[in-house]
Symmetry: C2
Subunit: 200 residues, 2 copies
């Protein structure tokens, strides 16, 4: 072994980061030790802090260090529209890419009976209570276009119907700028059956 | 903004790692917070520890938490052969890939007058003293086959000659398993001029 234990342990610990293998971890270690110890110290501090203090929003379940996340605590959001997403990153994507002004409900996953993930694990009892209280006009289902995402959306649509709430599903189709040549046949079928009349 | 300040600060702090842009940093943050807080806590602890406690080996300048690195403190290494490398990762590579049993000298860089990096910054005065003491038979120059690596090797070869020490340079040529088709012309020229007689 060419270097001490602590360096080996740092290389090892960095591998908990997704996409970081042994070579990348080694490169990161040399980089921090040789060139950027201050940034390494800052990272260590904020990482320890975040691991201990970040929890879930009481209302929408997204990750936040507060009791209520910034969206749920904002007086300017339309609480009659709830957008259901799989994870906090999806919230960030929708906030950045759309003009949606409603609130969110973050599943932190998808229904997956084979993995033992049922409605309770996704907080759907909590969501049902919100729908039951009334005042919700639309439940936007923005889970992914995967088998699990579709199954979850289907379950949620039935739940919305029970509470007389309109459920909508985000559109599937050809991505913007996408040449048909590069679109898979499943997406193309969705885009085709979901075609709309052009109103001139 | 869809999530609290601490999460943003963690995403930001992770970008000090080489090759980590905003999207990767975000993905790492969700992964640690949602799935692996224990690993995140361990990483924070070992990172803080390493940033504070890892220093340089008194003898060879490599990164180590001890006063002397494991190679320099080993009684089984041949101290008459010194292999000069650019960085600690090169030491690990040579230890893993060769049967070299001598010791190392780690430059932590290369001579680069344009960037203001001179012999003093690479500890070459320290290396010269070691050569001056005597007992060194060979200085293996294993800096990279780049312009800076070559210039540094040339400087070191002259230094070795002044102290009557043999300087050797690691071979350049076609990599093992390398088809000539994929070898650049510079490497091919080196491989050609460095050809050896086949002794049957």
């Amino acid at each position: 072994m060419a270097h001490g234990d602590l360096i080996e342990r740092l290389i090892d610990a960095l591998r908990c980061l997704p996409g970081v293998g042994p070579r990348t971890a080694q490169r990161m270690t040399w980089h921090l030790l040789e060139r950027n110890r201050d940034a390494g110290r800052r990272l260590a501090a904020v990482l320890a802090d975040a691991m201990d203090r970040v929890g879930h929003c009481r209302e929408c379940r997204t990750l936040t260090e507060q009791d209520l996340c910034p969206v749920c605590s904002s007086p300017r959001r339309d609480r009659s529209r709830i957008c259901v997403v799989e994870n906090p990153a999806d919230v960030a994507r929708i906030e950045a890419g759309t003009d949606f002004r409603g609130v969110y409900f973050v599943l932190m996953g998808n229904l997956s009976p084979l993995d033992g993930i049922g409605p309770g694990d996704l907080g759907l009892d909590q969501l049902a209570r919100r729908l039951g209280v009334g005042g919700v006009a639309e439940l936007v289902l923005a889970t992914g276009a995967t088998a699990e995402g579709e199954a979850t959306a289907h379950y949620l649509a039935e739940m919305a119907r029970e509470h007389d709430v309109t459920a909508t599903r985000i559109a599937q189709g050809v991505p913007l700028g996408g040449d048909l040549e590069f679109v898979d046949s499943g997406t193309l079928a969705h885009a085709f059956s979901g075609r709309r009349e052009i109103v001139l």
